[in-house]
Chain length 620, copies 2
């Protein structure tokens, strides 16, 4: 027998209020998802009134429970709960979806301090919740719980099953998934309708504790939440049978009404018993347990000697391990290729802060986002090519404003024999187009080490591209590499062309310039290690001095280094003449040097292109 306030009747009333307010907010907006909110009203009411432990005045309280609305379109329900909790007033509730309102169509932490992560792309809330729960279990050692409210439609996303696998394997009993099985998707019925057991079988097979419940029975829900809290050794999923639009006959369990305000909101509010003004007292967080203290030491980055042959991926691994030694908040994740990305160097030195995500890149990036919400600074790595698997998670991380570091190794044709499936040739374009991102592409080990350290303190999504093969260190270990900067590696008053390179094409450009210099053609070489933001001043100067820029990149021609350089000239002032060398054909298997040559981005190709421009008198 549950003796906690409010009573069964009180919980029912609260649920009705959440419905009424969802209907009212959507009606005021003229859009939104009231029916998707109404199905989960009891699930939400019982959670906030009886089980959530959260201090709304201190959303950063380290012992707060964490709630993730994976079915982000049910935002009216969330905002109605905020109103019931007293942190949003009725006037603000009715600004829903209007210009300037904090109450967006889908919730984002950029606007609302109580939102952990942006949702609205389905199938992301649970994987991110896994990341938060990992933090609680393995790092924070705190008692907080993570509650994720999912839709049934989104269980079709593979990312949900990556999360199911990860959570059960890590025995995340601090995680509860609540599935609002209202049987209707956007376009019509889901595959499994109200067959709760179809979902339960799947979750059980993955190792979860499952509870099936009538999602409109507040007492049953209450017991289910109690069961979740008292289950140890496994995460719990509560599968709740509900009706979309529950409580208003005109819409209840009807198809074709997804994402639409109710046809007659006033009648609906009346049918729901009219407006209420209940306040819910949310329980305080349980702060018995000590929370993580992060020792902050001195970061001693690895130092490499000029001329030493080192792969930037090796420098990444060593720098990350050193960063982890100096900064206790740094954590690392990898997608079962840590021996290749060299995240293993971190894993060996800091196993307690390393997260093996196996071959599940969406879950890896989601876990990074989740960890970042708890104040950790995650570095997640896999082959550059396979980060495309998590593009939607990266996009949503930028909507959240999450601070995460992603590292893609084995970039470009320079990997050699493995062939195009393993070559990141689209990654620069992908990461550059992410709002607020930083894109870095070092060419030597010392530069890599400095950039790995600098990334930790930037905002938003940070991307570092590393290379498989070794090349000679060209910078001094004490050289500085500001984000947004570049390095002029070769310069004379007689420069006729500027070659802009990054990563593996830097040594190629230098070799070409050397050869051309011997023939009396002086070429400037810029190392554009900061692809975004880009060093407009250095590029403008080089353009003014030499008149023609040639970019050379181990990437497809669209949106990469060449795009970054051109986009530096978008202010209406004169634009330099421009030639781009990039990977224009589909590579096959071949040795790395053969690949660079076949793609036309090696030293010989650069020198030949410059020669041609001189002969054609394109270059003065």
């Amino acid at each position: 027998m549950n003796t906690r306030a409010p009573s069964t009747r009180g919980l029912g009333e609260l649920a009705q209020q959440l419905r009424v307010d969802s209907v009212r907010a959507s009606a005021a907006a003229g859009s939104g998802h009231p029916t998707s909110s109404m199905s989960a009203a009891e699930l939400m009411a019982v959670l906030v009134a009886r089980h959530l432990r959260y201090d709304f005045d201190r959303p950063d309280h380290p012992a707060n429970d964490r709630f993730v609305l994976s079915k982000g379109h049910a935002s009216p329900l969330l905002y109605s709960a905020y109103k019931a909790a007293g942190v949003v007033d009725d006037a603000e509730l009715l600004t829903f979806r209007k210009l300037g309102s904090r109450l967006e169509g889908h919730p984002t932490p950029r606007r609302l301090p109580w939102v952990e992560t942006a949702t609205g792309s389905l199938g992301q809330g649970l994987p991110i919740g896994v990341g938060i729960a990992l933090s609680g279990k393995r790092l924070d050692h705190a008692d907080y719980r993570v509650w994720v409210l999912c839709g049934d439609s989104e269980l079709a996303e593979g990312s949900v099953w990556e999360a199911a696998e990860h959570a059960a394997y890590e025995r995340l009993d601090n995680l509860t998934a609540i599935v609002d099985v209202n049987r209707l998707g956007q376009r019509g019925p889901t595959r499994h309708g109200h067959d709760l057991d179809a979902y339960a079988r799947r979750f059980r097979a993955f190792g979860w504790h499952t509870v099936e419940v009538d999602g409109h029975d507040v007492d049953a829900i209450d017991r289910a939440y109690d069961e979740a809290v008292s289950t140890s050794g496994a995460p719990t999923v509560i599968l709740a049978r509900t009706l979309k639009g529950k409580g208003v006959k005109a819409v209840e369990d009807h198809e074709g009404l997804h994402g639409k305000p109710l046809p007659d909101p006033e009648a609906a509010v009346a049918e729901l018993g009219g407006p209420r003004d209940l306040n819910v007292r949310v329980q305080e967080p349980n702060a018995r347990r000590a929370l993580h203290a992060v020792p902050d030491g001195r970061v001693e980055l690895p130092r490499f000697s000029r001329g030493e042959e080192v792969a930037t991926r090796d420098a990444y691994g060593k720098a990350l391990a050193a960063l982890g030694t100096g900064r206790g908040e740094v954590v690392a994740l990898d997608g079962e290729v840590s021996d290749s990305t060299r995240a293993q160097f971190f894993a060996e030195e800091h196993p307690e802060r390393f997260f093996e995500c196996y071959i599940a890149e969406q879950q890896m990036v989601a876990a990074a986002v989740g960890l970042s919400t708890r104040g950790w600074v995650p570095y997640a790595s896999t082959f550059a090519a396979f980060l495309t698997r998590a593009h939607d998670f990266v996009r949503m991380a930028s909507v959240s404003g999450a601070g995460i570091n992603l590292v893609g190794s084995h970039a470009g044709v320079a990997i050699g024999q493995d062939g195009p499936s393993q070559m990141g040739l689209e990654d620069l374009a992908m990461f550059r187009a992410v709002h607020g991102s930083t894109v870095l592409y070092p060419c030597d080990a010392n530069q890599t080490a400095h950039l790995v350290a600098a990334m930790a303190d930037l905002d938003g999504v940070r991307y570092l591209r590393t290379s498989r093969g070794k090349n000679a260190v060209i910078y001094d270990p004490d050289e500085e590499f500001p984000v947004g900067g570049s390095k002029v590696l070769r310069f004379s008053e007689q420069d006729r062309v500027t070659v802009v390179a990054a990563g593996v094409t830097v040594p190629e450009a230098l070799a070409a310039a050397e050869a051309l210099g011997r023939e009396g053609i002086q070429v400037r070489v810029i190392d554009l290690y900061s692809v975004k933001p880009v060093d407009r001043f250095a590029l403008r100067q080089a353009a003014d001095d030499t008149g023609l820029l040639m970019t050379v990149e181990d990437h497809h021609p669209e949106g990469g280094l060449g795009g970054a350089v051109l986009e530096a000239f978008q202010d209406g002032r004169p634009v330099p003449r421009f030639v781009r060398l990039a990977v224009r054909t589909m590579p096959g298997s071949a040795a790395p040097d053969e690949q660079l040559h076949a793609a036309g981005i090696d030293a010989d190709s650069i020198a030949a292109a410059v020669q041609l421009l001189v002969e054609q008198a394109v270059v003065r």
Copy 2:
């Protein structure tokens, strides 16, 4: 008792030959994945010798079984099987991974006619196999079977579970997944090691028939394949316990040897009993059943009147339905949003050729790839934002050279209130960077209809971006829109600026030009509906005439329309001055017109930007 040739002993010998040849090929290459090949040698030997029905002389035979090597890194095993089948000789086998060889590190159909689809990004073979099996079951009505050889590590990918869900729901009993459970991934042990039942539980929960088998026992494998063939109503997964590097003690079941040639290949070959020269007679395809005949009629595209208010997504749906009526090989897929993308118009008219993929974008794109291998022309649609979920599948489709049409609706801030999670603001960058892709972005209904029809006959990945809101039809229904072209919508000898727009920014640009014209500032307007390939000639002409180009796009600034325009000037000739208007801040919720204004891409913003350039005398 199985009486088919070869005998148990013969099968064992064949498996040893496949091992020997895998070791030899990798040794000759100096790289590759022999140990991952050796674990699956019996699985492959029994398949090709006893169960696969395939005419190697006619890889396009419509009744051929289809084999997909989802664990694409085990390519030495595949190529060794080709040698045993007599279609690759020993000399070619030893060109493995060398420049110019057809035998790439991971197999691709661009080079080898017997390969259905490129693999090497794990977790993709099964989803694509589902697409092929769907074709067999629902369209071809042919007896062929689809066999997919998977690794155990790749079962961590969510895409595998999207495939598991889709295949069971569609009762694809013509599909067999064979999982080589060798317990070792690249970096170390998998989560479940040799616990076959852990996998079996998961597949059974999703509705599959499961068989567990010793993967080195040829008779047991033979029986398992028989069981798969005779199982109806559900797909079968064969979970085979194997040892990585099986047969050579120095590497068998050892960690740390993934992706490496054997340390002593000669000793290994000796231990395996030395080279063999067995030939396998692969069974002929079973062509009893009639195969699909596609009626080819006349395509009567919908026609819209100038001035009529029509959303391009509506035009897409209507044009696709019409295309489907005229062309029987056109099929459509959607990710549970066909009421929004308007793929529902096709679904209503051609239900037998419509595939509901629910909210599983990776599986949707994979199914499109699979269908394309069987000669169908797929159109797959969801919100533009959610196609990012399938980026890795799109990338791999381009490696395959697959011909697929992808359609992203609800692009950009113009969707309005739903907010950034639903706004495609990175899609143009993503699709432009895909090798060999075509990117189209129509601004009115007639243009959309023509482009939808034109897409069907292009090569590679084709992307069409549609818009949510209605806007006035500006083109005549008989106007033509060549891919790679553009339209000059406003022109005079006095033009001082060229505004390049596409999609929703075209009407904004026209309105701005109209307003500016009233103030005596003449502006040229180009509708750049073909974002890739881009109309270099028209852009060059406009640059020469007006000196300054201004691009206006409902997309982030990187890699989209502006990038496409700038990349038209990469030949070393003079580049025009350039200004870009794009979405530079993270949008919230607001009405569509408010969004365009807030992003600075509406008519007022364009006019103000031109005014400013005139006042600053940047524009002559």
